[in-house]
Amino acid sequence: MSAAKIEVLLQTLISGLLLGGLYALIGLGMTIIMGVMKIINLAHGELMMVGMYVAYLLFAWAHIDPYLSILVAVPLLFFLGVALQKYLVNPVLKVDAILPENQVILTVGIGMVLANLATIIFKSDYRTTPVDYATKAWYLTDLWKDSPIELSLSFPWTVSFLFAVGITAALWFFLSRTDMGKSIRATAQDKDAAMLMGVNVERMRVFTFGLGSALVGAAGCLFLPIYYLYPDVGGQFTLTGFVITILGGLGSTVGAIIGGLILGVFESLTATYVGMGWAPVGRFVVFMLVLVFVPGGVASLLRRRRFGK
């Protein structure tokens, strides 16, 4: 393999991993919402869009760094999520409908209203937060002058990636070590059993939707420095969220990050070696293969491993 080919491969893998970390963060919010409530939330991307606008506004008004605005966006999105769940989603989940999927209409409606309100308030302009470090990167040749190949590591992508890993770790800790987190996991595994054990299922649902929204809001803040923003930006990320949720396994935080990384690397490799136009096909084919053959996603594989030993 020539140096040039190795360079392409390594650079592809680096990009894939970084992208995967961000994907994971989008998937995290969805995986816990879907895990606990088993609902398909088509407004997920729109919630991310709201998070992005929060970061954008803070940047435009007070020049607050998008990464710092996580501190504002997270609580804000949390309350938005709580309100949505409490006043809109829960009433619909409670009624006896022929198809439980009628909640989907609700989320479509919510998404429509959010995106349209953004169009009205912010116009349909493309927005960005032109931070100084937008194109900053570390280079291999800067560190090692005689390197035969050149690799780069983007600063904002790396920061976003580290944030994503940190948030995932914190979430994992919260879910596995705190009482609240354990109650959420119990609700996700078996709603009725959790109820018998004295878990306030309804409160858990409200909290979970809030948490999921907060997470995707954080994802929005991390995406803004490397991406851009307009009112209809959300839709494509909803789909990404689905893919990661299934890849990682419903409700699994560790699964989400591994699923995100797998997807990121897979997409990058397809883009380089098959063609970027086909990359999304690969994404959804993998998605379907996992659905059919590994219905529990990465999480189930991990579990099987543990039992096997």
């Binding site: 619909v92 006896d96 209203v113 349209n116 789909l239 086909w278 096909v281 659905l291 219905p295």
Partner: protein, 317 residues
């Protein structure tokens, strides 16, 4: 079931093109909207068969719509045939595609089936975008000359198709198939233990539903004269729309898809054109959706009794 009411409504609908004679009315504009409403009625009935009655909630009906549309378009471009032959040709093509899709997706239950169908729709769109040599890719397919300038014939064709679909679905639901579909929706394990080959009947439901939806797609090509992957394989504008048409109208009801199409298409158009609302029409419509689903979770027809109860005190006051 009697056919008096359907026939009466059909008769009423059949004279709709007479609005042409009414002075001051935008007949072509309204006929265009009626055609879309009737087309959506078919898509709705198709979705209702698979998802409403058989309980397999599809998020990927755009796949069948798109295959139908492309069958028509490709016949025209590749073989120089009239795109109308697409109506016929779509039956085997869409049917075969549905068999294949069913083979993969119908192993899955509930939300997993739903997610798999989302993927199917998206995969087909991207494939259509990438197979430039075959489908024309993003440039789409354009039919140089549409058959008629007047809309009357299109209207009658789609109306006849809708009436046929209505009758067909009605017969299916009253037959053994219908019972089996509902049994599968209500409890797949119970159905299986009562001697129903659930995989087989789910596949039948999927194929029937797909073929009906394919008709609508083939018609769309003929009527609009232009298709491209982003239009006919659209997740939001076709797949999700199909769900909304039926859910707003009434899941697993005879008239649900009809009423749903009227609300989702005509209402959307009327709201869109309310003066002064401007771009806020999406918000209005989104709120309408939210209100409907909270107060009428089984749709307008499904919760007709509840709707009447809600309206009654208003009337006496």
């Amino acid at each position: 079931m009697t056919y008096r009411k359907p026939l009466l409504i059909l008769a009423l609908l059949a004279v709709l093109p007479l609005i042409r004679a009414v002075p001051g009315v935008n007949a072509n504009y309204w006929l265009h909207n009626f055609i879309l409403v009737v087309m959506w009625t078919i898509i709705g009935m198709s979705w209702n068969l698979l998802s409403g009655y058989c309980g397999q909630v599809s998020f990927g009906h755009a796949a069948f719509f798109g295959i139908g549309a492309y069958t028509s378009g490709l016949l025209y471009v590749k073989f120089g045939l009239s795109a109308w032959w697409g109506m016929l040709a779509s039956i085997p093509v869409v049917g075969a595609a549905a068999l294949l899709i069913g083979f993969v997706c119908l192993r899955l239950r509930g939300p997993f089936f739903a997610l798999a169908t989302i993927a199917v729709g998206v995969i087909l769109r991207i494939v259509a975008e990438n197979l430039t040599g075959f489908t024309g890719g993003d440039m789409g397919i354009m039919i140089r000359e549409r058959t008629w300038v007047e809309k009357t014939w299109y209207y009658y064709i789609i109306l006849a198709l809708a009436a046929g679909t209505f009758w067909f679905v009605d017969r299916i639901i009253a037959s053994k198939l219908g019972y089996y579909f509902v049994a599968i929706r209500e409890d797949q394990d119970a159905a299986e233990s009562l001697g129903i080959d659930t995989t087989r009947y789910k596949t039948i439901a999927l194929v029937l539903s797909a073929v009906l939806c394919g008709f609508a797609g083939a018609f769309y090509t003929n009527y609009m004269g232009y298709i491209d992957p982003k239009v006919v394989f659209a997740l939001h504008d076709i797949s999700v729309m199909a769900i909304m048409v039926v859910m707003v109208g009434g899941v697993a009801t005879r008239w649900g898809p009809v009423l749903g199409a009227v609300i989702m298409i005509l209402m959307a158009e009327i709201i869109r054109t309310i003066p002064k609302v401007g771009t806020a029409h999406h918000t209005l419509f989104g709120v309408l959706l939210i209100v409907v689903i909270i107060f009428l979770p089984n749709g307008v027809v499904g919760d007709a009794a509840k709707l009447r109860r809600l309206l009654r005190p208003g009337r006496s006051a």
